[in-house]
Every structure is written in structure tokens, then in C-alpha cells.
Subunit: 480 residues, 3 copies
Amino acid sequence: MTDAATNMRLKLPLICIILEVILIILFGTLVQYNYETDARLWHEHKTNHSDYDNDFYYRYPSFQDVHVMIFIGFGFLMTFLQRYGFSSVGFNFLIAAFALQWATLMQGFFHGMHHGKIHIGVESMINADFCTGSVLISFGAVLGKTSPVQLLVMALFEVTLFAVNEFILLSALGARDAGGSMTIHTFGAYFGLVVARVLYRPNLDKSKHRNSSVYHSDLFAMIGTIYLWMFWPSFNSAITAHGDDQHRTAMNTYYSLAACTLSTYALSALTAHDGKLDMVHIQNAALAGGVAAGTAGEMMLTPFGSMIVGFLAGIISVLGFKYLSPILEEKLKIQDTCGVHNLHGMPGILGAIVGAVTAALATRDVYGDGLEDVFPDVAKGEIEASFQGVRQAISLAVTLGIALLGGLIVGFILKLPIFGAPPDTICFEDSIYWEVSFTPLFIVLVILHMKTTLRYKCGCVGALKMPYKAQYKYQRYSVK
Amino acid sequence: MTDAATNMRLKLPLICIILEVILIILFGTLVQYNYETDARLWHEHKTNHSDYDNDFYYRYPSFQDVHVMIFIGFGFLMTFLQRYGFSSVGFNFLIAAFALQWATLMQGFFHGMHHGKIHIGVESMINADFCTGSVLISFGAVLGKTSPVQLLVMALFEVTLFAVNEFILLSALGARDAGGSMTIHTFGAYFGLVVARVLYRPNLDKSKHRNSSVYHSDLFAMIGTIYLWMFWPSFNSAITAHGDDQHRTAMNTYYSLAACTLSTYALSALTAHDGKLDMVHIQNAALAGGVAAGTAGEMMLTPFGSMIVGFLAGIISVLGFKYLSPILEEKLKIQDTCGVHNLHGMPGILGAIVGAVTAALATRDVYGDGLEDVFPDVAKGEIEASFQGVRQAISLAVTLGIALLGGLIVGFILKLPIFGAPPDTICFEDSIYWEVSFTPLFIVLVILHMKTTLRYKCGCVGALKMPYKAQYKYQRYSVK
Amino acid sequence: MTDAATNMRLKLPLICIILEVILIILFGTLVQYNYETDARLWHEHKTNHSDYDNDFYYRYPSFQDVHVMIFIGFGFLMTFLQRYGFSSVGFNFLIAAFALQWATLMQGFFHGMHHGKIHIGVESMINADFCTGSVLISFGAVLGKTSPVQLLVMALFEVTLFAVNEFILLSALGARDAGGSMTIHTFGAYFGLVVARVLYRPNLDKSKHRNSSVYHSDLFAMIGTIYLWMFWPSFNSAITAHGDDQHRTAMNTYYSLAACTLSTYALSALTAHDGKLDMVHIQNAALAGGVAAGTAGEMMLTPFGSMIVGFLAGIISVLGFKYLSPILEEKLKIQDTCGVHNLHGMPGILGAIVGAVTAALATRDVYGDGLEDVFPDVAKGEIEASFQGVRQAISLAVTLGIALLGGLIVGFILKLPIFGAPPDTICFEDSIYWEVSFTPLFIVLVILHMKTTLRYKCGCVGALKMPYKAQYKYQRYSVK
């Protein structure tokens, strides 16, 4: 793999423009305003409703919270790498902007066709953002080792498979998964892990010194963490039924996350060799409570149940980072950059199981007429609650199956050499794909550092291999 | 005090797990969904209301704004310290996650017991976040000088006392304090200041070089400042009565903050020795307008009145930072790291006084039937408006009394040597409690810096005392 | 121009206090609560409405999103400069806090006088923030080259002219411009560009080394970018009619931005000399889709149309940065620091044209009874849709005229030497107006850097010219 292969001059523009032109054409032929966004349709029904009844007012604040999670939350969470902040935020931005458009089409195709047209509004926007979230989880597994072109190709396929899996779960199997423990987290994590497995790089340790954080990069990452944590109640409740359901889901998630945070801090200090807290755990495991409340959050899980779930999720997640991730890397050859298995994989499965159990235990005594909202088939008497539990369990199995198989195929597609993957020696490095500038002071330091008599064998290729712009500056300031 | 005492390996996990297990048990026995979050209860009343009437839609957006203030606002505001960013955001995160759970119980115990059960929903979530805010204000006073275990213990007691004080003010005395000038700001500030007084460290100047900001840490802190500033209108209006009250409160706060910002910039430039602006003032004093509008914000203060209040609050706050804080430290031995006396203490008292005066001046002529919402006892004719003013003034006195006495007792509890407080020489330093990694380049610089013939007597223990991980890296790169 | 002239000790406090006192007096005499914020008025109409009908619940979430764009979005977007972060966020904060108060009066004077009083509520708050946005766009053009006093003076005049232009467009001409492609973006950009032209500095290259970004400053700027991007749908829809209009506008903007992001990445890689992405493009051009959907967003533009508009806006914007900005600087002597011509100027004009065309094509067939909301005059049969298009086109011309003429006059006012503009040698430098502190390590590096035998001719005056505080520290640590 030569350095030249990573040049994105033609590849990236080409794929971006082709994809966007296709999207525009498909939107032009297939997509229409739904009755709440269409001027004519909304006003035709005007006798029955007021403008204040428009779903915009009951979904849009949740949508914006989800939107922040997708673009700020995921984007900044991944800036923990010392030399990969531009790519973390920037590629997150690019693939999310693509995926949400493509998801509108794919999800619309499976869920919302009306006389051959896809009808869209705020609910489809939330669903598109959800699907995008799944792609960004997979991005976390391959972070630093993939080109933007690879990521767009991955998003193209993953969104499609996401929509298929979601259709099977929610429409065909009749499962409930409002916050996406299965459809979003489990799917995204295992899909990404298999892709990472296929893209295994035996010589990745050549870039190991860059695969870690520095002080300020960890602070940037905390912006992502805190936003994800704060808005997770909005995420899980964004598309549940209106009224008590949305209210309850948000509250359950809030308590699950709070409990998870305490167990994360406890386990982080406990498992460290000297009792110090590890930023990796805080940044990630403290969020596992949101993942694990994704399926059961809308059910009558109670704050008590939510806190138990969150507490366990935090423990599982920290232990995963500490003991399982090294095994995954050494034995299974899965180089999971962000540890998505610990944040989304295992907690997602936990969430699916909690959802299945909670569903199986549902009674009309507890839910009253609210049973209709949460388990419509049970409320209608078509199935027993226990069978709803079975549906949930089958859904988990289906999700794992599609994620693993899909990830395998897409992984091999991404291996094609034309996509401009970075060489092993300069993974986790922004300057391959971005113009990166340095301060004059920084350049002086590099020079001093080269001149010093200390026999320092520096591995940091990225720092020394200044991009053209920086070299130019260095000449400007130092040679004259 | 030995270095070993700060090891959190067992202490932190132990307290986190014990506290969380107690919380889970108490939630299991005491807490229930309220009628707006419970599936059965909500649907029982379904004939009288639509799903869109659920309070979720009228409180949750405000809740999320408050939530951002608590976790991003307070968390990042305190990252101004050059080597304490992890702890600022991270301990803020930990104690807030604990405090909001504990506050649900304590506030529920005093305000919301129904047949022996605490009923919760979005309003209790906002109140829990409010109570948490008070703890975080106290955290600001002791920032950098306390271990996470001390902070959790402080939160445990402070939340309890907060709930007692809040109950006396709002329920027993019938005071109004929607935005918490008294209950949150005055209480949190003076409680924290007394704790800081009891924990006085005569040799803190050994860590003085770390008790200051650097360029980027000040930018991170501005994230906190701006979020607090923007969302303060939501904070003050989050639990007022619906309709005009919430609307008016948000607007009053908006203008109070705007006026405060201009007086802050004016005073900052005026009091500096060379006319330069001081980031400390901008980051803190510009927020005093929100604090000072906390009590009177829901009243008919008018934008005109709000602007006068904000204008004065900014002036008081900057003058406090400039002239009062050094006196507090030298004469009263109160080492107030973040200057909470200037941001929350004095502006809180100002807000309480403004509230008392505004209440005393209330007339049915001005409030119309809206008097019922703001001063129900006056509206019912039970008391005169002037007596409502007296109630407000008494409330301020009670708040100060409980805060000072409570802070004194809790301060002495925190002095127990088992809690792992940092030694005087390494206060304001993340690497005591956190794994901190450095870039290879940074380590080279440290070496150069040690080797240089300049007779530089470095005070920066923290930078040289590399944690294990960094030392390891240094060996990896330099020794071979 | 001597260094002393930049001393803000008296000038800044004086202007801040005078302006704020005038504002307070004018608010006291002219401003009243509107019927939704006034306790008496709201409760008088209480038989006709519920508290939940208060416009607070249907505008305030949008307001807060806009508020974040103004203070975090614009503020952090401009932190890309390596040594101008304090000023970017801090002056943005100051002039926005002033402008929103002044805008309340100016816009109220033109739009909302009722018996000699200005009635205010959440809608006027949004409009004030919008007007503020326009001032901040102009700020982007002169960033780094103006003192805070100059900026306040500019804001004073620009807000006034904005209100005049807005009145002519929306009230006199009957144009539609909900998201402000014309009133906010085109006006703010061309006003700022002319000001920058008048303030042309032939020797600005003396500060050129500071007029660029460093790694972390670009990450801070991405916070601004992403927030602007995410909340732009709220911006464009914040003051449209309730119901389908607000819903549709948000969705159109969402798709316009997504398409714009892909074309931005494509063009950025395509136009770079080595296929690398340029942060300047990503930070700015990706937002052009929001600007370009500002006028037509509320119309039946369709997602398809929105995506085409966004796609074109991204292309125009990147090409502007690459090819037009150097020409503007060299030939027209317009030193546009942030490239507002590319982000707000050209996309604003594009948005105005798209709005005119979309308006001209409006039919009752497409809009149904919703035509009343979007084009009331067309709905009433007073004018043809094609004439509405003409109105829109005239509005663009008027906006350009007022912006260019206004900018010219204000530019010459700002040239008065009393306002403390920075000298050419220390533009783009925080330490003129702010206390800036450095770490001890940083200072050692500067010393090493001065001692090194490398013949390095450093242009970085700002770094070597340590402020008093830093010098003091350096002495403290090194001399003993």
C-alpha cells in the first residue's frame, strides 16, 4: 500500500458527488411532504386540529437533542485520539450527513411508502438520525484505520442493512425497541466489530504511539461524553408514543444513566493498578446505562429497575474495557479503536435481554389501558405477554445474525485497495487527509528535538513529517 | 498527610457502590411513577385529557436546558485550572449523578409523599437537578483541594440540608424562589465557603502555580460560561407556573443577563491595572445577572427592573473578585477557588433582597388574576403583599443560618483523614486521581527542560512527576 | 498608531456604561410586557385559552436553539485563530449582549409599537437574536483588526440599519424572509465587507503569522460549526407561522444542509493541491446550505429542491474561499478574516434568488389554504405570485444597497483614531485586550527558543511579548 493510494483528490469528490446526485434524483422521484409538513394537506384537515397540534411541537425538541448526540456527541467522543481530532469530528460529520439522507430513503422504503411515495416529517428525521447513529457506532470500531471513502461505502451498505433489520424486528416480528438497544446499538457494534476483524492490521503497532490520548484531546472527548449522557433520555424517548410513554422513557433513562455513572467510577478505580480513574472508562462506560435502557425504557421498568440495569451496565462495560478488549485484540484479532463492544455491544445485548424479560412480565394490571401503547398485540389479546418476550429474544438473535453476516461482506468490500486506506505506519493521523498547520513555536520545538544530542528514537512520524504548509512556514521563519 | 492516603483504589469504589446500593433499595421501596409517567394512571384519566397535555411537553425542554447547565455548564466552567480539567468535569459528573438521585429522595420526602410513596416525574427531575446545582456551587469553593470521596460525602449531607431549607422556605414560610436565588445560590455558596474555611490550608501556596489558568483551559471554561449564560432563562423559569409566568421569567432573566454582561466588561477593564479584560470576570461575573433574577424573575419585575438588577449584579461581582476575594482569603482564611462568593453568594443575596422588595410591592392592579400564580396567599387575601416581603426576608436569614451552620458541621466531617484529601503540594492536580498521559513530544520537552543549563527552579511538580503510563512511554521512546 | 491607543481602561467602561444606562432608561420608558408575558393581560383573556396555549411553548425551544447559535455557534466558529480565542468568544459575547437589547428597541420601534409602547415576548427575543446574528456576521469580516469599542459602535449603527432594512422588506415591500437570507446574511455580510474595505490595512501582513489556525484552535472552531449546522433548522423556522410552516421549514433546512455538507467535502478535496481537506472549507462552506434555505425554506421548496440549493451553496462557497477571497483581498482590498462573503454573502444572494423564484412559482394548487400563511397577499388575491417574486428580487437589491451604503458610512466612523484599533503588527492577538497567562513550561520553551543557536527570525511578537502576569511568573520561577 503506497502513500499515494491515500490521495483523496479524485476519489472523495467523485463518491460524494455521485452519491449526492443519486440522492437528489431519488428524493425528487420518491419523497413527498407528509400531511404535517405539506401546506395543502395540513390545511385541508384544519377543521379537526389547531396548528398547535402539529407533531413538530411534540417531537422536534427531542429531535434536536438526538441531533446533538449524533453530531457533537459521537463526533467529539472520538476526538480523544491525540492526532485524529479533525477526522473524528470531520468524518463523523461527513458520513452522518450522507447517512441521514440515505436512511430517509431506505427506512421510507420499508416503513413509509404511500402510493409509491415516501412521506416525511419530523418522525422520519428522528429515525434517520437513529440509523445514522448505528453507522457512527461502527465508525468507532474502525476509527483511525479507514479512509473517508471507505466510510462512505460502509455507510451506504450499513444503512441499507439497518433498514432491513429494523423492518424485520419492528414490522415483521412485532418487537419493541424504542431506544434501539438492538436495532441501533447491538447492530452497529457487531457490524463494526466484524468489519474491524476483516480489516485486521497485523502491523498496527507501528501506529500505536498515536493510538492514545493527550490531555486536551481527552477534554474535547468529554464534551462528547457529557452531551451523549445528558440527551440520552431524549434519544430513548424520541419516538415512543406520546404522553406517559415518552415521559416515562425519559425518566427511566435518566435514572439508569445516573446509577451507571456511579458504578463506572467505582469499577474504574477498583480495576486500575493504582486506584486512579481512567478517562477511557469515564468517557464510555458511564454511557452504557443509556444503551441498556434502550429497549425496556418505554416499559414499566420503574426507576428502581432502571437503576439496577444502569448499575450492571456500568460494571459490564468497565470490565469489558479492562479485561475483554485486550483478549478481543490478541485472540480474535479485532482492533476495536473506541471499544464499541464495551459501550454498545454488551450493554446493547443486556438491554435486549432486559427488554425481553420486562415484556414477558407485562400485565394489564400494571399497564392499564396504557398496554395498548407499549404492547399493542398483547393489549388486543392476539398474543400473551410471555410471547412478546420471545419475540424480543428472537429479535436479538436476528440482529446479531444480520450484523455479523453484513459486517463480514461489507468488510471484504472495504478491503478493495481502491478506497485509499491509510498505511499501517500512519494510522490515527489527521495529516493524511487534512491540511494540518502548526504554530511556529511547535516547529522550533521539532527542530530542537531533532538537534538534541539525546539519543531519542522517535516513533512519531506524524509529527516530523510536516505537511507542505507547515514546511513552508518553517522555511519562512527559520531559514532567512 | 502521605501520598498513599490519596489512593482511591478501595475508598472510592466502596463509597460509590454503598451509596448506589442504598439508593437502589430506597428507590425500590419508596419511589413510584406519578400519574403522568405511569401507564395505568395516565390512561385512567384519559377521558379528561389528551396525550399532548402531559406535562412532559411543557417542562422537558426546560429540564434539558437545566441539565446542560449542570453537567456542561458547571463542569466546564471549572476547567479553567491548567491541570485540573479531568477532575473539574469528571468529579462534577460523579457528584451530580449521585446528588440527583439522592435529591429525588430527600426532596420527595419533604414535598411529595403520597401514602408513604414518593411520586416522580419531570418536575421532580428538574428539582433534583436544581438541588444538584447547589452542591456544585459548593464544589466550586473547594475545587482542587478535595478528593472525590470527600465530595460525595459533602453531597450526601448538603443535599439533605438543601431539602430541609427548601421545605422551610417554600412550604413552611410560604416564600417564593422559583430560580433559587436563596435556596440554590445563597445556600450553595455560603455552605461551600464555610466548608472551605474549615478545610483551610495554610500552605496552599505550595500549589499556587497550578491554581491558575492557561490559554486553552480558559477557552474550555468559556464553554461552561456561555452555556450557563444562554440557558439561565430556562433555569429560572423551569418550575414556575405555566403560561405567562414561565414566559415572563425567561424574558426577565434574558434581559438581566444582557445588562450584567455589559457592566461586567466595563468593570473588568476599569479595575485592571492596564485596562485589559480579565477572563475570571468574564467567565463568572457575567452570570451574576441570572443569579440575581432568581427570586424576582417570575414576578412583574419588568425588563427595566431586570436590567437594573443585572447591571448591579455584574458590578458587585467584579468588585468582589477584585477587592473582596483577597480579603476573604487573607483575613477570613476562606480559600474560595472559583470565587463562588462573587458569582453565587453576593448576587444570591441581592436576588433575595430584590425578591423581597418586589413581592412587598405587588398589587392586584399590576398582577390581575395572575396574582394567584405568583403570590397565592396574597391573592386569597390571607396576607398583605408587604408581609410576603417579610417572609422573603426571613427566608434569606434562614437560608444563611442553615448554610453556615451546616457547612461548619460538614466541614469538620470532611476533615477526617480517611477521605484521601490531596497534600498541600499537589492540589489542583489531576494526576493524583486520574491516569494522565502526555505526548512523546511533551516528554522530550521535559527532558530538554531538565537538561538545560538555565538555572531554572521549576515549581511544577505535577509536570515532572510523570505518572506510570507516561514514564513507560518515555522509556519506550527514549531509552532504546 | 501607538500601543497606548489600544488601552481600554477608560474607553471600554465608558461606552459600556453609557450604552447600558441609555438602554435601561429607554426600556423603562418604552417597553412593556406583551399580553403573553403580562400577568394581568394574560389572565384577563383566560376564558379563551389555557396556559398551555401560551406562545412560550411553541417558540421558546426554537429561541434557545437560535440563542446557542448566536453565542456558541458564532463565538466558537471564530476561535480558529491561534491567538484570538478570548476575543472571538469574548467580544462575540459582549457585542451580542448589547445588540440584542438595542435590537429589541429598534425592531420594536419599527414593528411593534402599541400606543407608544413596545410590547415584547419570546418572538421579539428571537427577532433580537436574529438581528444580533447579522452584527456577528459583520464581526467575522473585521475579526482580529478591531477593538471592542469599535465593535460596539459598529453594532449600534448596524442594528439600527438592520431594523430599517427589515422594516422596508417585510412591512413596506411585503417580502418573505423567515430565515433571513436577505435581512440577516446578505445584509450582515456586505455591510461587514464594506466596513472591512474602509478599514483596509496595507501592512496587515505584519500580523500574517497569527492570522491562521493551530490544531486545537481548529477543534474549538468545529464546536461552533457543528452547533450552527445542527440548529440551523431551528433558526430558519423560528418565526414562521405555526403548524406545517414551522415543520416544513425545519425539514427543508435539514436536507439543504446535509446536501451542502457532501458538496463541501467534494469541492474541498478537489480544489486542494494534494487532495487534502481544508478545515476552513469544512468549518464554513458546510453551513452555506442553511443560509441559502433562509428565504425559501418556509415555502413548498420540497426536500428535493432544498437539496439542490444546498448542494449548489456548498460548491459556491468552497470556490469562493479558494478563488474569490484572494482576489477580493488583492484587487478590491477587502480583508475578510472569516470569509463571510463565502459563507453569508454569496449563499445569501443565492437564497434570495431561490426565494424569489419559488415565490413566483407558488400556486393555490400546491399550497392549498396554506397559501394564506406563506404568501398572504397572494392568497387574498391582491397580487399575483409572480409579483411576489418581483417583490423578493427588489428586496435583495434594497438590502444590498442599504448594506453597502451603511457599511461605507459606518466604516468611516470606525476609522476615527479614538476607538483604540490595534496596530498592524499585533492584529489577531488576544494579549492586547486580555490578560493572558502562560504555563511555566511554555515560558521555558520561549527562553530555550531565544537561546538556541539556530538563526531563527521569529515573527511571533505576541508570543515573546509576554504580558505582565507571565513575566512575573517567569521571574518567580527562573531567576531565583
